[in-house]
Symmetry: D2
Subunit: 170 residues, 4 copies
DNA sequence: TTTT
DNA sequence: TTTT
């Protein structure tokens, strides 16, 4: 055992997020994001570009944030893990789809500095706390009500779970 | 606002961890780890090597794990963030020291396949849970029997806070 | 444009590498590696484990290294990028497979401290040079003979292309 | 040996880059970038923010790009490695400074979508090529002149050395 | 000293 | 299907 399974992406949404809800009430958000790389052909000297599309799935609180603040064209930073799911085609055959899972251990940051293109801003009212300040209580035993307020952080802390680690249950 | 501050290291401990306790009872573990890179000199063709030493500080539960399982020579994977602290030299002048902070948002994995050299193995009894599995939510819910050998996971999940996110208070 | 597409994995090979050669003579190596995560079920308190399998493809010189030094069970660190390829099933339908591409911009490090299980060691005689030492000449056009010999580095530098940037054509 | 030494940052420049030239003619660019994390205090419920400042040093071609396109306030993605340099204070005592080195193995991406605030755009005329397309020729020995022109990529490929791997000597 |  |  043991292992590291980490994906880091910066790219743009190809369409608005698709959000659905679990029986538990938890949100699950799916997006497609494009990452591009460009280079110049060795021989022709012509500029080349290749775009890769990724299926990213957000779980829990971050899914709500995705739903609320991201839209077609949004540029984001995402940190998650790979998961390949198996499913059955209509022909009964096995199919596999690889997704980037962004859950409590992942991160999302909005990179559209100002204006998200749509609303009045890309601010995300979501809060996190540097771990070693978490006092001994292991986990955000928060309670404070008002969630966002003047909310601002467009993406939260720069690392992991903190991003979901706020005091407010969405 | 917004920002990503991430450090990923794989290297070996130069000495045993130094552990101290906060007034709160929380442990803080300090280690030095070396990362090396080698290359061949363009001109002489001679092999070159450069070793870089890093100060890594662990907070909370992971500090206890470090204390218990790591020792001089241990090879580890570490994920944390940079923090530069300011302090006063004896001459009253400002000094700065940069450290890699591994807190609840970071990760540590032991990479010494078997046996850490000291005890009876490098297994780390520390548990984490994929976020969206939290509670009832649709997940592997696996059941497969005996994981393998006598337990093994030297480090836990591959991502973020999960590593500290277990149900068991050490 | 713009984009980051990065994958970092630490896991074990499920089987020996499969190597083939391009018309150009370049090697391409395919491996499957497993990453595992473990956690303790919130409710039952039972230890859970989930293993994820990844298809990793190496191009060029690193493919030769993979062929020569990796085998079933090898533990490695890999840094690459995601690429989803489209292909046609026998039924004429489109299928998609996502792979982690490790090319000149990626990295591979062997993590089996000593002994790879097979030969007399996991050392990889491969050389890289810190970029800013590269003198102005763009790239190490070195030529010096004896590659490995006292060589040791099981994986090379910790970053990018350097890993393939040695002077010795394998 | 062996090791990984990787830093990933997303932040803003606190001031314009400082560029100097080596005897070899190579540029070296220094910047300071800030990464912030915010969280809500567990007790007071007040929003907290912590800003960390990083010294980033660019070598070679990328230093020229930094000089040309970045300025105070620019938001960037940076991938490099840690290096602590030792120097002598005026009092003759040893001092240490930790920097993030971005050389041929690192990456930089501009994240200010449109307009960098200063010039007519943040486009960076710099070209890179996916490695496995490099055919056998080891390295892009290209030559085509006109650097920018149709240029576009604000940051280059998403991985490693490719970012410096263009055909145009700046 | 940057950003929000 | 996004971006530049």
């Amino acid at each position: 055992m043991a292992g590291v399974n980490k994906v880091i992406l910066i790219g743009n949404l190809g369409a608005d997020p698709e959000v659905r809800y679990m029986p538990s009430g938890d949100a699950v958000a799916n997006i497609r994001i494009a990452t591009s790389e460009t280079w110049k052909d060795k021989n022709t000297g012509e500029r080349q570009e290749r775009t890769e599309w990724h299926n990213v799935v957000f779980f829990g609180k971050i899914a709500e944030i995705v739903k609320q603040y991201l839209h077609k064209g949004s540029k984001i930073y995402v940190e998650g893990k790979l998961r390949t799911k198996k499913w059955q085609g209509q022909d009964g055959q096995d199919r596999y789809t690889t997704e980037i899972i962004v859950d409590i251990n992942g991160t999302m940051q909005m990179l559209d500095s100002r204006s998200g293109g749509g609303g009045m801003g890309s601010s995300v009212p979501f809060d996190d706390a540097p771990a070693h300040q978490s006092s001994r209580g292991g986990r955000p035993q928060s309670s404070s009500p008002a969630p966002s307020s003047g909310g601002s952080s467009p993406g939260g802390s720069s690392q992991g779970a903190a991003d979901f680690d706020d005091d407010i249950p969405f």
